[in-house]
Protein backbone atom coordinates (compact mmCIF):
# COMPACT_ATOMS: atom_id res chain seq x y z
CA UNK A 1 0.00 0.00 0.00
CA UNK A 2 1.32 3.43 -0.93
CA UNK A 3 1.77 6.32 1.48
CA UNK A 4 -0.07 8.58 -0.97
CA UNK A 5 -2.75 6.89 -3.00
CA UNK A 6 -4.89 8.28 -5.77
CA UNK A 7 -7.77 6.03 -6.69
CA UNK A 8 -9.62 6.70 -9.95
CA UNK A 9 -9.31 10.44 -9.48
CA UNK A 10 -11.14 12.58 -11.97
CA UNK A 11 -11.43 16.34 -12.32
CA UNK A 12 -13.90 18.08 -14.58
CA UNK A 13 -13.82 21.83 -15.32
CA UNK A 14 -17.13 22.50 -17.06
CA UNK A 15 -17.06 20.29 -20.13
CA UNK A 16 -13.30 19.80 -20.01
CA UNK A 17 -11.97 16.74 -18.22
CA UNK A 18 -8.61 17.86 -16.83
CA UNK A 19 -7.79 14.60 -15.03
CA UNK A 20 -9.21 11.24 -16.00
CA UNK A 21 -9.10 7.86 -14.21
CA UNK A 22 -5.88 8.72 -12.40
CA UNK A 23 -4.70 5.95 -10.09
CA UNK A 24 -1.28 5.91 -8.47
CA UNK A 25 0.49 4.73 -5.35
CA UNK A 26 3.44 6.71 -4.04
CA UNK A 27 5.56 4.84 -1.51
CA UNK A 28 6.85 6.45 1.68
CA UNK A 29 10.07 8.39 1.12
CA UNK A 30 9.78 8.15 -2.66
CA UNK A 31 10.18 11.03 -5.11
CA UNK A 32 7.68 10.70 -7.92
CA UNK A 33 7.56 13.17 -10.81
CA UNK A 34 4.51 14.05 -12.87
CA UNK A 35 5.84 14.76 -16.33
CA UNK A 36 3.89 16.06 -19.30
CA UNK A 37 3.25 18.99 -21.57
CA UNK A 38 1.09 22.02 -20.83
CA UNK A 39 -2.52 21.16 -19.99
CA UNK A 40 -1.84 17.47 -19.36
CA UNK A 41 -3.38 17.68 -15.87
CA UNK A 42 -0.22 17.30 -13.79
CA UNK A 43 -0.64 20.54 -11.81
CA UNK A 44 -4.37 19.94 -11.35
CA UNK A 45 -3.59 16.53 -9.86
CA UNK A 46 -1.00 18.08 -7.54
CA UNK A 47 -3.47 20.80 -6.48
CA UNK A 48 -6.04 18.12 -5.66
CA UNK A 49 -3.52 16.39 -3.40
CA UNK A 50 -2.73 19.76 -1.77
CA UNK A 51 -6.43 20.49 -1.22
CA UNK A 52 -6.72 23.52 -3.52
CA UNK A 53 -8.97 21.66 -5.97
CA UNK A 54 -11.57 19.02 -5.24
CA UNK A 55 -11.77 15.89 -7.36
CA UNK A 56 -15.00 15.40 -9.26
CA UNK A 57 -14.65 11.69 -8.55
CA UNK A 58 -12.22 9.35 -6.83
CA UNK A 59 -10.30 9.21 -3.58
CA UNK A 60 -7.02 10.64 -2.38
CA UNK A 61 -5.47 8.87 0.60
CA UNK A 62 -2.49 9.93 2.68
CA UNK A 63 -1.21 7.31 5.10
CA UNK A 64 -4.42 5.35 4.59
CA UNK A 65 -6.84 8.20 5.40
CA UNK A 66 -9.02 9.92 2.80
CA UNK A 67 -7.97 13.59 2.71
CA UNK A 68 -10.54 14.85 0.19
CA UNK A 69 -12.86 16.25 2.89
CA UNK A 70 -9.92 17.74 4.84
CA UNK A 71 -9.19 21.45 4.15
CA UNK A 72 -5.77 22.34 2.74
CA UNK A 73 -4.52 23.89 5.99
CA UNK A 74 -5.14 20.67 7.93
CA UNK A 75 -3.66 18.16 5.50
CA UNK A 76 -0.06 18.51 6.68
CA UNK A 77 1.10 18.72 3.10
CA UNK A 78 3.84 21.22 2.27
CA UNK A 79 3.95 22.87 -1.10
CA UNK A 80 6.57 24.75 -3.08
CA UNK A 81 5.24 26.96 -5.85
CA UNK A 82 6.62 27.82 -9.26
CA UNK A 83 7.02 31.54 -8.47
CA UNK A 84 8.29 30.96 -4.89
CA UNK A 85 5.24 32.60 -3.21
CA UNK A 86 7.33 33.99 -0.37
CA UNK A 87 5.48 36.56 1.72
CA UNK A 88 6.95 39.91 0.62
CA UNK A 89 6.40 41.54 4.02
CA UNK A 90 8.52 38.97 5.89
CA UNK A 91 12.22 38.21 6.06
CA UNK A 92 13.60 34.80 5.10
CA UNK A 93 13.58 33.72 8.75
CA UNK A 94 10.00 34.89 9.33
CA UNK A 95 8.86 33.22 6.12
CA UNK A 96 10.39 29.94 7.27
CA UNK A 97 8.84 30.26 10.73
CA UNK A 98 5.40 31.28 9.43
CA UNK A 99 3.82 27.82 9.49
CA UNK A 100 5.08 27.17 13.01
CA UNK A 101 3.78 30.54 14.24
CA UNK A 102 0.42 29.86 12.57
CA UNK A 103 0.13 26.61 14.51
CA UNK A 104 1.07 28.37 17.78
CA UNK A 105 4.38 26.61 18.48
CA UNK A 106 6.57 28.06 21.28
CA UNK A 107 9.05 30.76 20.25
CA UNK A 108 12.07 28.68 21.27
CA UNK A 109 10.98 25.79 19.03
CA UNK A 110 10.34 28.18 16.13
CA UNK A 111 13.77 29.80 16.51
CA UNK A 112 15.51 26.41 16.62
CA UNK A 113 13.63 25.06 13.60
CA UNK A 114 14.24 28.21 11.57
CA UNK A 115 17.97 27.95 12.31
CA UNK A 116 17.94 24.25 11.39
CA UNK A 117 16.20 24.99 8.08
CA UNK A 118 18.53 27.89 7.22
CA UNK A 119 21.47 25.56 7.83
CA UNK A 120 19.86 22.86 5.69
CA UNK A 121 19.61 25.23 2.73
CA UNK A 122 23.02 26.85 3.49
CA UNK A 123 21.50 30.33 3.85
CA UNK A 124 22.20 31.29 7.47
CA UNK A 125 23.50 34.72 6.46
CA UNK A 126 20.28 35.50 4.55
CA UNK A 127 17.94 35.19 7.54
CA UNK A 128 17.13 38.92 7.69
CA UNK A 129 16.77 39.49 3.96
CA UNK A 130 13.39 40.24 2.41
CA UNK A 131 12.35 38.29 -0.70
CA UNK A 132 13.07 41.24 -3.00
CA UNK A 133 16.64 41.30 -1.67
CA UNK A 134 17.30 37.70 -2.79
CA UNK A 135 17.84 36.06 -6.19
CA UNK A 136 15.29 33.63 -7.64
CA UNK A 137 17.35 30.60 -6.62
CA UNK A 138 17.74 31.88 -3.06
CA UNK A 139 14.03 32.62 -2.83
CA UNK A 140 13.17 29.12 -3.98
CA UNK A 141 15.51 27.61 -1.38
CA UNK A 142 13.78 29.67 1.31
CA UNK A 143 10.41 28.53 -0.06
CA UNK A 144 11.60 24.91 0.21
CA UNK A 145 12.82 25.49 3.79
CA UNK A 146 9.49 27.13 4.65
CA UNK A 147 7.56 24.13 3.33
CA UNK A 148 9.82 21.70 5.19
CA UNK A 149 9.81 23.64 8.48
CA UNK A 150 6.32 22.40 9.36
CA UNK A 151 7.56 18.79 8.97
CA UNK A 152 4.90 17.92 6.37
CA UNK A 153 3.83 14.35 5.74
CA UNK A 154 4.13 14.92 2.00
CA UNK A 155 6.02 17.55 0.02
CA UNK A 156 4.61 18.82 -3.26
CA UNK A 157 6.71 20.80 -5.71
CA UNK A 158 4.95 22.54 -8.58
CA UNK A 159 7.54 23.25 -11.29
CA UNK A 160 9.81 24.85 -8.67
CA UNK A 161 12.74 25.43 -11.00
CA UNK A 162 11.03 26.61 -14.17
CA UNK A 163 11.45 30.31 -13.35
CA UNK A 164 15.21 29.95 -12.83
CA UNK A 165 18.07 30.06 -15.30
CA UNK A 166 19.64 26.84 -16.55
CA UNK A 167 22.76 26.71 -14.35
CA UNK A 168 20.90 27.41 -11.11
CA UNK A 169 18.24 24.90 -12.14
CA UNK A 170 20.80 22.12 -12.41
CA UNK A 171 22.43 23.03 -9.07
CA UNK A 172 19.13 23.39 -7.25
CA UNK A 173 17.68 20.10 -8.47
CA UNK A 174 20.69 18.28 -7.04
CA UNK A 175 20.18 20.16 -3.79
CA UNK A 176 16.43 19.40 -3.64
CA UNK A 177 17.06 15.71 -4.30
CA UNK A 178 19.77 15.59 -1.64
CA UNK A 179 17.52 17.29 0.97
CA UNK A 180 14.64 14.98 0.04
CA UNK A 181 16.86 11.92 0.51
CA UNK A 182 18.28 13.23 3.79
CA UNK A 183 14.82 13.85 5.26
CA UNK A 184 13.25 10.81 3.59
CA UNK A 185 10.14 12.82 2.83
CA UNK A 186 7.54 11.51 0.39
CA UNK A 187 7.65 13.96 -2.51
CA UNK A 188 5.63 14.60 -5.63
CA UNK A 189 7.34 16.79 -8.18
CA UNK A 190 5.59 18.36 -11.15
CA UNK A 191 7.68 19.31 -14.14
CA UNK A 192 7.56 19.62 -17.89
CA UNK A 193 11.34 19.27 -18.06
CA UNK A 194 12.20 15.66 -18.86
CA UNK A 195 15.85 16.07 -17.87
CA UNK A 196 14.73 17.27 -14.44
CA UNK A 197 12.35 14.33 -14.07
CA UNK A 198 14.88 11.77 -15.28
CA UNK A 199 17.67 13.03 -13.03
CA UNK A 200 15.70 13.46 -9.81
CA UNK A 201 12.95 10.89 -9.66
CA UNK A 202 12.60 7.43 -8.21
CA UNK A 203 9.65 7.01 -10.55
CA UNK A 204 8.11 9.13 -13.29
CA UNK A 205 4.45 9.41 -14.23
CA UNK A 206 4.16 10.48 -17.87
CA UNK A 207 0.83 12.20 -18.49
CA UNK A 208 -1.15 13.28 -21.53
CA UNK A 209 -4.66 14.77 -21.73
CA UNK A 210 -5.34 14.08 -18.05
CA UNK A 211 -4.39 10.42 -18.30
CA UNK A 212 -1.37 8.40 -17.24
CA UNK A 213 0.59 7.15 -20.25
CA UNK A 214 3.25 5.28 -18.29
CA UNK A 215 4.59 4.94 -14.76
CA UNK A 216 8.12 3.68 -14.27
CA UNK A 217 11.66 4.35 -13.17
CA UNK A 218 13.60 6.85 -15.30
CA UNK A 219 15.44 3.96 -16.92
CA UNK A 220 12.22 2.08 -17.74
CA UNK A 221 10.58 5.20 -19.12
CA UNK A 222 13.57 6.00 -21.30
CA UNK A 223 14.57 2.54 -22.44
CA UNK A 224 11.18 0.86 -22.57
CA UNK A 225 8.58 3.49 -23.44
CA UNK A 226 5.09 2.03 -23.32
CA UNK A 227 3.91 3.74 -26.47
CA UNK A 228 4.81 6.13 -29.25
CA UNK A 229 3.88 9.19 -27.21
CA UNK A 230 6.25 8.34 -24.36
CA UNK A 231 9.01 7.40 -26.81
CA UNK A 232 8.63 10.74 -28.59
CA UNK A 233 8.12 12.81 -25.44
CA UNK A 234 11.08 11.47 -23.46
CA UNK A 235 14.35 12.22 -25.15
CA UNK A 236 14.49 12.16 -28.91
CA UNK A 237 13.85 9.10 -30.97
CA UNK A 238 13.64 7.98 -34.56
CA UNK A 239 10.21 6.70 -35.50
CA UNK A 240 10.37 4.07 -38.24
CA UNK A 241 7.40 2.62 -40.05
CA UNK A 242 7.96 -1.08 -40.62
CA UNK A 243 6.09 -4.18 -41.73
CA UNK A 244 6.19 -7.38 -39.68
CA UNK A 245 7.88 -10.28 -41.46
CA UNK A 246 8.21 -12.85 -38.69
CA UNK A 247 6.65 -11.87 -35.35
CA UNK A 248 8.43 -14.66 -33.41
CA UNK A 249 11.88 -13.77 -34.75
CA UNK A 250 11.14 -10.05 -34.56
CA UNK A 251 12.13 -9.48 -38.18
CA UNK A 252 10.76 -6.37 -39.81
CA UNK A 253 10.85 -4.79 -43.22
CA UNK A 254 11.91 -1.14 -43.31
CA UNK A 255 11.55 0.26 -46.79
CA UNK A 256 12.90 -2.90 -48.42
CA UNK A 257 15.71 -3.53 -45.88
CA UNK A 258 15.32 -6.18 -43.19
CA UNK A 259 16.04 -5.46 -39.54
CA UNK A 260 15.53 -7.52 -36.38
CA UNK A 261 14.02 -6.40 -33.07
CA UNK A 262 14.85 -8.27 -29.84
CA UNK A 263 11.26 -7.82 -28.78
CA UNK A 264 8.70 -10.17 -30.33
CA UNK A 265 5.84 -8.42 -32.10
CA UNK A 266 2.21 -9.11 -31.29
CA UNK A 267 1.25 -8.12 -34.83
CA UNK A 268 0.67 -10.67 -37.56
CA UNK A 269 3.00 -10.97 -40.58
CA UNK A 270 2.34 -8.19 -43.08
CA UNK A 271 0.97 -5.84 -40.41
CA UNK A 272 2.49 -2.36 -40.14
CA UNK A 273 4.22 -1.44 -36.85
CA UNK A 274 6.09 1.57 -35.47
CA UNK A 275 9.65 1.18 -34.23
CA UNK A 276 11.42 3.75 -32.06
CA UNK A 277 15.22 3.91 -31.96
CA UNK A 278 17.15 6.37 -29.79
CA UNK A 279 19.73 8.44 -31.74
CA UNK A 280 22.53 7.42 -29.38
CA UNK A 281 21.74 3.72 -30.03
CA UNK A 282 22.59 4.10 -33.71
CA UNK A 283 26.21 4.06 -34.77
CA UNK A 284 27.91 4.91 -38.02
CA UNK A 285 30.17 2.39 -39.81
CA UNK A 286 29.28 -0.35 -37.32
CA UNK A 287 30.48 -3.66 -38.63
CA UNK A 288 29.21 -5.95 -35.87
CA UNK A 289 27.57 -9.03 -37.33
CA UNK A 290 24.86 -9.14 -34.69
CA UNK A 291 23.70 -5.62 -35.47
CA UNK A 292 21.06 -4.39 -37.85
CA UNK A 293 22.44 -2.46 -40.80
CA UNK A 294 20.82 0.11 -43.03
CA UNK A 295 22.50 1.85 -45.93
CA UNK A 296 21.90 5.50 -46.51
CA UNK A 297 23.17 8.96 -47.45
CA UNK A 298 24.27 11.69 -45.02
CA UNK A 299 21.84 14.60 -45.35
CA UNK A 300 22.83 16.77 -42.41
CA UNK A 301 25.61 17.08 -39.83
CA UNK A 302 25.32 19.20 -36.68
CA UNK A 303 28.24 19.74 -34.34
CA UNK A 304 26.80 20.13 -30.81
CA UNK A 305 29.97 20.08 -28.73
CA UNK A 306 29.97 16.82 -26.80
CA UNK A 307 28.04 15.07 -29.56
CA UNK A 308 27.78 15.22 -33.33
CA UNK A 309 24.28 14.74 -34.72
CA UNK A 310 24.17 13.13 -38.15
CA UNK A 311 21.05 12.70 -40.27
CA UNK A 312 21.10 9.72 -42.65
CA UNK A 313 18.42 9.08 -45.24
CA UNK A 314 17.71 5.37 -45.73
CA UNK A 315 15.14 5.21 -48.52
CA UNK A 316 12.06 7.06 -47.33
CA UNK A 317 13.26 7.03 -43.69
CA UNK A 318 15.53 9.64 -42.16
CA UNK A 319 17.49 8.42 -39.15
CA UNK A 320 19.12 10.76 -36.66
CA UNK A 321 22.20 9.42 -34.96
CA UNK A 322 24.21 10.95 -32.12
CA UNK A 323 27.91 10.21 -32.10
CA UNK A 324 30.09 11.15 -29.11
CA UNK A 325 32.65 13.71 -30.04
CA UNK A 326 36.30 12.75 -29.75
CA UNK A 327 39.51 14.20 -31.22
CA UNK A 328 39.91 11.25 -33.57
CA UNK A 329 36.28 11.31 -34.79
CA UNK A 330 35.92 11.47 -38.54
CA UNK A 331 32.87 13.55 -39.27
CA UNK A 332 31.10 12.23 -42.38
CA UNK A 333 30.61 14.59 -45.27
CA UNK A 334 27.24 15.64 -46.62
CA UNK A 335 26.07 13.34 -49.42
CA UNK A 336 28.46 10.53 -48.52
CA UNK A 337 27.21 6.94 -48.47
CA UNK A 338 27.29 5.37 -45.00
CA UNK A 339 26.03 2.31 -43.20
CA UNK A 340 24.28 2.78 -39.88
CA UNK A 341 24.04 0.01 -37.32
CA UNK A 342 21.96 -0.62 -34.27
CA UNK A 343 21.39 -3.56 -31.96
CA UNK A 344 18.08 -5.50 -32.04
CA UNK A 345 17.66 -4.45 -28.38
CA UNK A 346 17.61 -0.80 -29.49
CA UNK A 347 14.45 -1.37 -31.56
CA UNK A 348 11.44 -0.51 -29.40
CA UNK A 349 8.09 -1.57 -30.82
CA UNK A 350 5.75 1.20 -29.74
CA UNK A 351 2.36 -0.02 -30.77
CA UNK A 352 0.96 -1.20 -34.04
CA UNK A 353 -0.41 1.29 -36.50
Amino acid sequence: MGFVELVNVEKQFGKHRAVDSFSLEVREGELVSFLGGSGCGKTTTLRMIAGFEFPTRGRILVDGADVVPVPANRRGIGMVFQNYALFPNMTAARNIGFGLRASGRPASEIAARVQEMLTLIHMEEFRDRYPHQMSGGQQQRVALARALAIRPRVLLLDEPLSALDAKIRVRLRTEIRSIQRTLGITTIYVTHDQEEALSMSDRIVVMRDGRIEQVGTPSEIYNRPANGFVAAFIGSSNALRATVLDPGQGTLDVDGQVIRAAQASAAAPGQPVRVAIRPEAISLHNGSATNNHLKGTVTNVMFLGSIVRVAVRCGSVELITDVFNAPHLVIPELGSEVTVGFAPEACILVGEE
Binding site: A72, I77, A85, N89, F98, G99, A102, A147
Partner: protein, 274 residues
Protein backbone atom coordinates in the same frame (compact mmCIF):
# COMPACT_ATOMS: atom_id res chain seq x y z
CA UNK B 1 31.30 62.49 -35.43
CA UNK B 2 28.32 60.43 -36.42
CA UNK B 3 28.20 58.83 -33.00
CA UNK B 4 28.30 62.26 -31.36
CA UNK B 5 25.41 63.43 -33.49
CA UNK B 6 23.42 60.34 -32.65
CA UNK B 7 23.96 60.90 -28.94
CA UNK B 8 22.95 64.56 -29.21
CA UNK B 9 19.77 63.78 -31.16
CA UNK B 10 18.91 61.08 -28.65
CA UNK B 11 19.54 63.48 -25.76
CA UNK B 12 17.40 66.27 -27.14
CA UNK B 13 14.01 64.52 -26.89
CA UNK B 14 14.87 63.40 -23.34
CA UNK B 15 15.68 66.94 -22.18
CA UNK B 16 12.61 68.26 -24.02
CA UNK B 17 10.46 65.64 -22.31
CA UNK B 18 11.93 66.64 -18.97
CA UNK B 19 11.17 70.31 -19.64
CA UNK B 20 7.58 69.46 -20.56
CA UNK B 21 7.23 67.33 -17.44
CA UNK B 22 8.55 70.15 -15.29
CA UNK B 23 6.20 72.65 -16.97
CA UNK B 24 3.08 70.53 -16.45
CA UNK B 25 4.12 69.66 -12.92
CA UNK B 26 4.59 73.36 -12.12
CA UNK B 27 1.23 74.24 -13.66
CA UNK B 28 -0.42 71.48 -11.64
CA UNK B 29 1.32 72.68 -8.50
CA UNK B 30 0.22 76.25 -9.12
CA UNK B 31 -3.36 75.12 -9.75
CA UNK B 32 -3.34 73.35 -6.43
CA UNK B 33 -1.33 75.72 -4.23
CA UNK B 34 -2.31 79.17 -5.57
CA UNK B 35 -5.90 79.06 -4.24
CA UNK B 36 -4.55 77.76 -0.93
CA UNK B 37 -2.04 80.57 -0.76
CA UNK B 38 -4.69 83.15 -1.69
CA UNK B 39 -7.03 81.73 0.95
CA UNK B 40 -4.24 81.83 3.53
CA UNK B 41 -3.30 85.44 2.70
CA UNK B 42 -6.95 86.49 2.78
CA UNK B 43 -7.41 84.80 6.17
CA UNK B 44 -4.65 87.03 7.60
CA UNK B 45 -6.53 90.26 6.81
CA UNK B 46 -8.98 90.03 9.70
CA UNK B 47 -7.58 93.25 11.16
CA UNK B 48 -7.59 96.27 8.90
CA UNK B 49 -4.18 97.38 7.61
CA UNK B 50 -2.08 94.56 9.16
CA UNK B 51 -1.63 90.85 8.62
CA UNK B 52 -2.71 88.96 11.72
CA UNK B 53 -4.03 85.63 12.95
CA UNK B 54 -7.11 87.23 14.48
CA UNK B 55 -9.49 85.19 12.27
CA UNK B 56 -7.77 82.01 13.47
CA UNK B 57 -8.20 83.11 17.08
CA UNK B 58 -11.93 83.57 16.45
CA UNK B 59 -12.23 80.12 14.93
CA UNK B 60 -10.39 78.42 17.78
CA UNK B 61 -12.48 80.30 20.38
CA UNK B 62 -15.69 78.97 18.82
CA UNK B 63 -16.61 75.75 20.73
CA UNK B 64 -18.58 74.58 17.69
CA UNK B 65 -15.36 74.24 15.72
CA UNK B 66 -13.81 71.53 17.88
CA UNK B 67 -17.17 69.86 18.50
CA UNK B 68 -18.04 69.52 14.80
CA UNK B 69 -14.55 68.54 13.74
CA UNK B 70 -14.35 65.86 16.45
CA UNK B 71 -17.76 64.54 15.41
CA UNK B 72 -16.73 64.32 11.76
CA UNK B 73 -13.44 62.73 12.77
CA UNK B 74 -15.32 60.03 14.70
CA UNK B 75 -17.67 59.46 11.78
CA UNK B 76 -14.72 59.24 9.39
CA UNK B 77 -13.00 56.60 11.53
CA UNK B 78 -16.26 54.64 11.86
CA UNK B 79 -16.80 54.85 8.09
CA UNK B 80 -13.25 53.68 7.36
CA UNK B 81 -13.62 50.72 9.73
CA UNK B 82 -17.09 49.77 8.46
CA UNK B 83 -16.14 50.34 4.82
CA UNK B 84 -12.99 48.24 5.03
CA UNK B 85 -14.79 45.52 7.00
CA UNK B 86 -17.30 45.32 4.17
CA UNK B 87 -15.03 45.83 1.17
CA UNK B 88 -11.99 43.69 2.08
CA UNK B 89 -13.98 40.41 2.18
CA UNK B 90 -15.92 41.51 -0.92
CA UNK B 91 -12.78 42.30 -2.90
CA UNK B 92 -11.13 39.09 -1.66
CA UNK B 93 -14.13 37.06 -2.72
CA UNK B 94 -14.26 38.72 -6.14
CA UNK B 95 -10.55 38.14 -6.71
CA UNK B 96 -10.33 34.60 -5.38
CA UNK B 97 -13.61 32.86 -5.89
CA UNK B 98 -16.06 34.85 -7.99
CA UNK B 99 -14.29 36.90 -10.65
CA UNK B 100 -17.50 36.70 -12.70
CA UNK B 101 -19.23 38.95 -10.15
CA UNK B 102 -16.77 41.78 -10.79
CA UNK B 103 -18.96 43.57 -13.41
CA UNK B 104 -21.88 43.58 -10.92
CA UNK B 105 -19.71 45.13 -8.21
CA UNK B 106 -18.38 47.66 -10.75
CA UNK B 107 -21.96 48.73 -11.48
CA UNK B 108 -22.63 49.12 -7.74
CA UNK B 109 -19.44 51.14 -7.43
CA UNK B 110 -20.79 53.60 -10.01
CA UNK B 111 -24.06 54.16 -8.12
CA UNK B 112 -22.79 56.91 -5.76
CA UNK B 113 -21.73 58.91 -8.85
CA UNK B 114 -25.06 58.37 -10.59
CA UNK B 115 -27.37 58.87 -7.62
CA UNK B 116 -26.90 62.31 -6.00
CA UNK B 117 -26.43 62.37 -2.19
CA UNK B 118 -29.72 64.26 -1.79
CA UNK B 119 -31.62 61.37 -3.40
CA UNK B 120 -29.69 58.89 -1.27
CA UNK B 121 -30.47 60.73 1.96
CA UNK B 122 -34.19 61.03 1.16
CA UNK B 123 -34.23 57.32 0.46
CA UNK B 124 -32.51 56.63 3.78
CA UNK B 125 -34.92 58.89 5.70
CA UNK B 126 -37.93 57.30 4.06
CA UNK B 127 -36.70 53.79 4.66
CA UNK B 128 -35.35 54.16 8.20
CA UNK B 129 -37.65 56.69 9.88
CA UNK B 130 -40.20 54.21 11.22
CA UNK B 131 -40.14 50.84 12.96
CA UNK B 132 -38.81 48.22 12.60
CA UNK B 133 -35.83 50.23 11.24
CA UNK B 134 -36.12 53.56 13.10
CA UNK B 135 -32.47 54.51 12.64
CA UNK B 136 -32.87 58.08 11.48
CA UNK B 137 -31.73 59.51 14.81
CA UNK B 138 -28.80 57.09 15.11
CA UNK B 139 -25.31 57.94 13.82
CA UNK B 140 -25.28 54.40 12.41
CA UNK B 141 -27.43 55.62 9.52
CA UNK B 142 -25.05 58.50 8.83
CA UNK B 143 -22.09 56.09 8.80
CA UNK B 144 -24.07 53.74 6.54
CA UNK B 145 -24.68 56.64 4.14
CA UNK B 146 -21.00 57.58 4.22
CA UNK B 147 -20.05 53.95 3.49
CA UNK B 148 -22.25 54.11 0.38
CA UNK B 149 -20.63 57.38 -0.72
CA UNK B 150 -17.11 56.05 -0.17
CA UNK B 151 -17.86 52.57 -1.61
CA UNK B 152 -16.29 53.22 -5.05
CA UNK B 153 -13.10 54.62 -3.55
CA UNK B 154 -12.66 51.90 -0.93
CA UNK B 155 -13.50 49.03 -3.27
CA UNK B 156 -11.28 50.25 -6.09
CA UNK B 157 -8.34 50.93 -3.78
CA UNK B 158 -8.58 47.52 -2.07
CA UNK B 159 -9.21 45.73 -5.36
CA UNK B 160 -6.21 47.42 -7.00
CA UNK B 161 -4.05 46.40 -4.02
CA UNK B 162 -5.19 42.79 -4.21
CA UNK B 163 -4.63 42.65 -7.96
CA UNK B 164 -1.10 43.99 -7.52
CA UNK B 165 -0.05 41.02 -5.37
CA UNK B 166 -0.18 37.35 -6.33
CA UNK B 167 -3.17 36.87 -4.06
CA UNK B 168 -4.13 33.33 -5.06
CA UNK B 169 -0.66 31.89 -4.66
CA UNK B 170 0.06 33.78 -1.41
CA UNK B 171 -3.17 32.60 0.20
CA UNK B 172 -2.55 29.04 -0.99
CA UNK B 173 1.02 29.15 0.33
CA UNK B 174 -0.31 30.35 3.69
CA UNK B 175 -2.94 27.59 3.79
CA UNK B 176 -0.44 24.90 2.84
CA UNK B 177 1.59 26.01 5.89
CA UNK B 178 -1.40 25.33 8.12
CA UNK B 179 -2.69 28.90 8.51
CA UNK B 180 -6.39 29.59 8.91
CA UNK B 181 -8.21 32.30 6.99
CA UNK B 182 -7.84 34.85 9.81
CA UNK B 183 -4.07 34.34 9.98
CA UNK B 184 -3.79 34.48 6.20
CA UNK B 185 -5.80 37.70 6.09
CA UNK B 186 -4.10 39.58 8.93
CA UNK B 187 -0.52 38.32 8.53
CA UNK B 188 -0.23 37.83 4.79
CA UNK B 189 -2.87 39.68 2.77
CA UNK B 190 -3.44 42.94 4.65
CA UNK B 191 0.23 43.76 5.38
CA UNK B 192 0.95 43.35 1.67
CA UNK B 193 -1.80 45.75 0.58
CA UNK B 194 -1.04 48.31 3.28
CA UNK B 195 -0.57 51.15 0.79
CA UNK B 196 -3.91 50.35 -0.82
CA UNK B 197 -5.66 50.30 2.56
CA UNK B 198 -4.12 53.66 3.43
CA UNK B 199 -5.32 55.06 0.10
CA UNK B 200 -8.82 53.85 0.87
CA UNK B 201 -8.65 55.39 4.35
CA UNK B 202 -7.35 58.74 3.06
CA UNK B 203 -10.03 59.05 0.41
CA UNK B 204 -12.80 58.09 2.83
CA UNK B 205 -11.49 60.53 5.40
CA UNK B 206 -11.51 63.41 2.91
CA UNK B 207 -15.03 62.57 1.74
CA UNK B 208 -16.50 62.32 5.25
CA UNK B 209 -14.85 65.38 6.78
CA UNK B 210 -16.13 67.71 4.07
CA UNK B 211 -19.51 66.04 3.47
CA UNK B 212 -22.52 68.37 3.69
CA UNK B 213 -25.75 66.90 2.30
CA UNK B 214 -26.13 63.78 4.44
CA UNK B 215 -25.08 65.58 7.64
CA UNK B 216 -27.49 68.50 7.07
CA UNK B 217 -30.48 66.36 6.08
CA UNK B 218 -29.95 63.91 8.94
CA UNK B 219 -29.34 66.88 11.28
CA UNK B 220 -25.92 65.96 12.65
CA UNK B 221 -23.45 68.57 13.97
CA UNK B 222 -20.75 67.71 11.44
CA UNK B 223 -17.83 69.79 10.19
CA UNK B 224 -19.23 70.26 6.65
CA UNK B 225 -22.45 72.04 7.78
CA UNK B 226 -20.40 74.08 10.28
CA UNK B 227 -18.10 75.35 7.53
CA UNK B 228 -21.09 76.21 5.35
CA UNK B 229 -22.68 78.10 8.22
CA UNK B 230 -19.54 80.10 9.03
CA UNK B 231 -19.02 80.86 5.35
CA UNK B 232 -22.52 82.28 5.09
CA UNK B 233 -22.23 84.72 8.04
CA UNK B 234 -18.55 85.77 8.26
CA UNK B 235 -15.77 86.96 5.91
CA UNK B 236 -12.24 86.07 7.10
CA UNK B 237 -13.06 83.20 9.47
CA UNK B 238 -14.19 80.84 6.66
CA UNK B 239 -10.82 81.33 4.97
CA UNK B 240 -9.02 80.61 8.26
CA UNK B 241 -11.29 77.60 8.76
CA UNK B 242 -10.47 76.28 5.29
CA UNK B 243 -6.73 76.51 6.03
CA UNK B 244 -7.16 74.94 9.48
CA UNK B 245 -9.32 72.11 8.14
CA UNK B 246 -6.76 71.48 5.42
CA UNK B 247 -3.96 71.21 7.98
CA UNK B 248 -6.11 69.14 10.36
CA UNK B 249 -7.08 66.73 7.61
CA UNK B 250 -3.47 66.23 6.55
CA UNK B 251 -2.42 65.95 10.20
CA UNK B 252 -5.06 63.27 10.79
CA UNK B 253 -3.96 61.38 7.70
CA UNK B 254 -0.39 61.48 8.99
CA UNK B 255 -1.59 60.01 12.29
CA UNK B 256 -3.39 57.21 10.40
CA UNK B 257 -0.22 56.47 8.46
CA UNK B 258 1.94 56.44 11.59
CA UNK B 259 -0.58 54.29 13.45
CA UNK B 260 -0.71 51.79 10.60
CA UNK B 261 3.05 51.18 10.86
CA UNK B 262 2.57 48.97 13.88
CA UNK B 263 0.29 46.84 11.78
CA UNK B 264 2.84 45.69 9.22
CA UNK B 265 5.94 43.56 9.36
CA UNK B 266 8.02 45.77 7.03
CA UNK B 267 9.03 45.26 3.43
CA UNK B 268 7.52 46.47 0.18
CA UNK B 269 3.76 46.59 -0.14
CA UNK B 270 1.38 46.73 -3.06
CA UNK B 271 0.04 50.13 -3.91
CA UNK B 272 -3.53 51.07 -4.50
CA UNK B 273 -5.26 54.04 -6.05
CA UNK B 274 -3.39 57.19 -5.12
Amino acid sequence: MTAGLAVRTAERPVSRRKAWSALWLSLGGLYFFLPLLATFLFSLRGKKGVLSFVAYAHVFRDPQFLKTFTFSLEMAVATIVAGLALMIPTALWVNLRLPRVRPVIEVFALMPFVIPPIVLVFGLIRMYSQPPFALVTSPVLLVAGYVVLSFPYIFRAVDAGLRAIDLKVLTEASQSLGARWGTTLFRVVLPNIRAALLSAAFLTFSIVVGELTLAVMLAWPAFGPYMALVGRDLAYEPAALAVISFLLTWGSLLVIQLASRGFREQGPTAGGVH
